[in-house]
Amino acid sequence: MDSFLNTKRPPVFCPGCSHERITKAVDTALVKLNLEADKTVLVSDIGCSGLFDTFFNTHALHGLHGRALTYAAGIKLANPELNVIVTMGDGGLGIGGAHVLAACRKNLDLTLIILNNFNFGMTGGQYSVTTPSDAVVGSEFLNQAEIPIDICEIAKSGGATWISRCSGHDSSLPDILCEAIKHKGFSIVETLGLCTGRYTKRNQLTPKVIDEMIERLPTYGGIVEKNQRPEYGEQYRNLANQQKSLPELLKVDKIFDLKDMKRQEIVILGSAGMRIVTAGDMVCYAAISAGFNASMKNDYNITVLRGQSVSELILSPEKIGYAGIESPTVVIALSDEGVQRRIKLFSKLEPSTFLLKEKSVSIPETSATVVEIDFKEYQIKKQDWALASLGFIAGKNQGITMEMLDFALKSRFKPAVYESAIEIVKKLATITM
């Protein structure tokens, strides 16, 4: 192909705008590289640089301000065969900064062409993240109170593997773009250019001044040695291939027949670190093995290692509707924090409620039938209290039986873990009060 330019849609930039030269440079690069149009995608965002996708006969996606890199990444991950080239102005660079950083860190094989012309051309020449403090722009004095960023420096510390900075008027721009596109990994080309429509009207900026600016700034000529590493897509696919397939979904048949299948509502009140959720899980699997439906709601702090941990379980021969606890049949109180979390519950309990409480835990007045156990006396570690209490209630056939519990532990734990769990469970299973 001798040109990728869409003759039906010639560039429409202001006379003298550097974007036009860069458009041609991109075309020259695509031709030089002999890319296939159907394997090439131009992704753009908002602003004058966002017109780029319309000038080329390639695949194109034009999206929201600053988000071009996110679409580009989605396309490239979904179809690694494609050459994905992104254009973005200094406006998109600012609003989409998080995406630029993410692209640098990831090193996905994309090429980002930044069209830095030091201001928001399309919306009225307002200042951007690259506007010099002494420039005269459409945001009155605001740029004077800030300093511009150097995206090449940021990209380097962000992990970009290929960075180049050059003038939009540089005759070697097509070659630079070729190198950038050929680079396997994330490449950034920062072009510095003129916005004749806005910026140069009030600021002395010429191609010569741009050359001098580039002289003064740190030089970036492509490969960033210290950041070299494998391309993200390949890395991802390598790692993904090593992941183990998900084990088959555990399905439990009804294997135990309970004479008298009554709805049970069980509340376990404990603290973080007491493995309350695991205990709740065991009760539910135990119940399922006897043909019950089960539901479990957990309540724990977002700081998972501190605070209460409460598990509310419903076991029912019928389908479970409302999954809140209304009249608990069993309450297991293992910590003050847990009790405090459900303090209102206690006054409503009936004598038919079986309440197991650890000796050190204080509970408010209640009509429930309370059984107190000193777990320390049985040399049970705090993190095992919940599991041990399951042994106790199963031993009393409160809600679940020992054989149901044993089944649950066996199906959920690996053999070695099962052995130690069943030891703990047995500690309280046979005691009589």
Partner: protein, 377 residues
């Protein structure tokens, strides 16, 4: 009947896999994170892609890119995240990019309460796109629904080329339940309709947004032999910017009608008609479970009350609501918010007295409360 034990979020992930989803991008947020973690265990070993975006906006961007490259994509978030999604939601709706978006709702507004449930985003989902175009919103009531509705959502998204929302809730997403997934009859899986023109060879006649009146344009992926254009800007059939009022007007109408005309196809619901009932309770989501419990108890006590559980909230199943309400004197609407959907019902049934109860205080509405509302209604 063998049962598994899983939370609604895991069921969503399983439903997505069953529907052929091969791409997920999301950002961690309670109570939606476990959809991400489940997808992360399910997709990579099978050649799928699962990405943690640098933020919610990026996650949506990844999904848009991947969908345009031909993947079936899923993302999941909660209130603060869906707020950030909105600019990309507008893009996906206006530019007809299929995807499934799960909102595991938590108590809002704003950061609200990460671990408290609510159905507070219903109107947000409906109106989160600038332009106010109609959307498809499905509401599961339990883990089984999470599984089935996710499969439906993918079908609707592919068929109508639009994002489809699943309005889940912390109380479903993070509640573990016994489920028999094998008991669910999933709908036959719908694949995206590719254009016959230009699919296998270059054909310049292919226009990415050309469609018959009120229908859906045929798709070609970016990367196909024929060049494809996608744009968030107001576009004509060729995918280039247009300012032609006729073209714009027709396209807006098409975007509206392709969804609204599909009302019946999109209508999913459950009903429990009880003999002799003069009251119908309409609800959706997790609340409908308490409603059913309440009505069961009332019926046992001699007061028959029927229920209608909406699984499709938008487009509003108008025909269904009108038909099912016809024979009832009293209509009761219960919502886990302060009244976001009820107006869609009052609007349809101007001749009926409608009793509403809404609650949004971080806890489930109890069957007892619902019985009280029905009896005092």
């Amino acid at each position: 009947m063998a049962l598994s034990f899983m939370e609604g979020n895991e069921a969503v992930a399983r439903g997505a896999i069953a529907a052929g989803c091969s791409f997920f991008a999301g950002y961690p947020i309670t109570p939606a994170s476990t959809i991400f973690s489940n997808m992360l265990t399910m997709l990579p070993p099978n050649g799928g892609i699962c990405i943690q975006g640098e933020d919610e906006i990026a996650s949506m961007g990844y999904c848009i890119g991947a969908s345009m490259a031909g993947r079936k994509v899923l993302t999941a978030t909660s209130g603060p995240g869906i707020s950030l999604y909105s600019e990309q939601i507008s893009f996906a709706i206006g530019s007809e990019i299929p995807m499934v978006i799960v909102d595991v709702q938590r108590l809002g507004p704003s950061t609200g309460s990460a671990t408290r449930g609510a159905d507070g985003d219903i109107q947000f989902l409906r109106w989160s796109n600038t332009g106010g175009l109609p959307v498809v919103v499905l509401a599961p009531k339990d883990a089984l629904d999470c599984y089935a509705l996710t499969a439906h959502a993918f079908n609707f998204a592919e068929e109508l080329r639009c994002p489809v929302f699943i309005a889940s809730n912390k109380e479903i997403g993070m509640t573990r339940e016994s489920v028999d997934l094998d008991s669910v009859e999933l709908p036959p899986i719908v694949e995206r309709k590719y254009s016959e023109i230009g699919k296998d060879e270059i054909n310049h006649k292919y226009l990415p947004f050309e469609a018959d009146k009120d229908s859906v344009p045929d798709f070609l992926p970016i990367g196909c032999k024929t060049l494809v254009r996608q744009t968030s800007s107001t576009h004509g059939a060729d995918g280039y910017i247009t300012i032609d009022p006729n073209v714009i007007g027709e396209s807006q109408e098409r975007l509206i009608n392709k969804i609204l005309n599909a009302e019946e196809r999109l209508t999913l619901y459950e009903e429990n008609h009880r003999q002799g009932a003069d009251t119908l309770v309409i609800s959706y989501g997790v609340t409908s479970r308490a409603v059913e419990d309440a009505c069961k108890t009332l019926s046992k006590n001699g007061k028959a009350v029927s229920t209608l559980t909406l699984k499709t909230l938008f487009p509003v199943p108008q025909k269904l609501i009108r038909e099912k309400s016809e024979q009832y004197q009293h209509i009761v609407v219960i919502e886990m918010n302060m009244g976001q959907y009820v107006e869609n019902i009052t609007r349809l049934l101007p001749e009926k007295k409608i009793v509403f109860y809404g609650q949004m205080n971080g806890v489930l509405i109890t069957p007892a409360k619902i019985m009280e509302v029905i009896q005092n209604g």
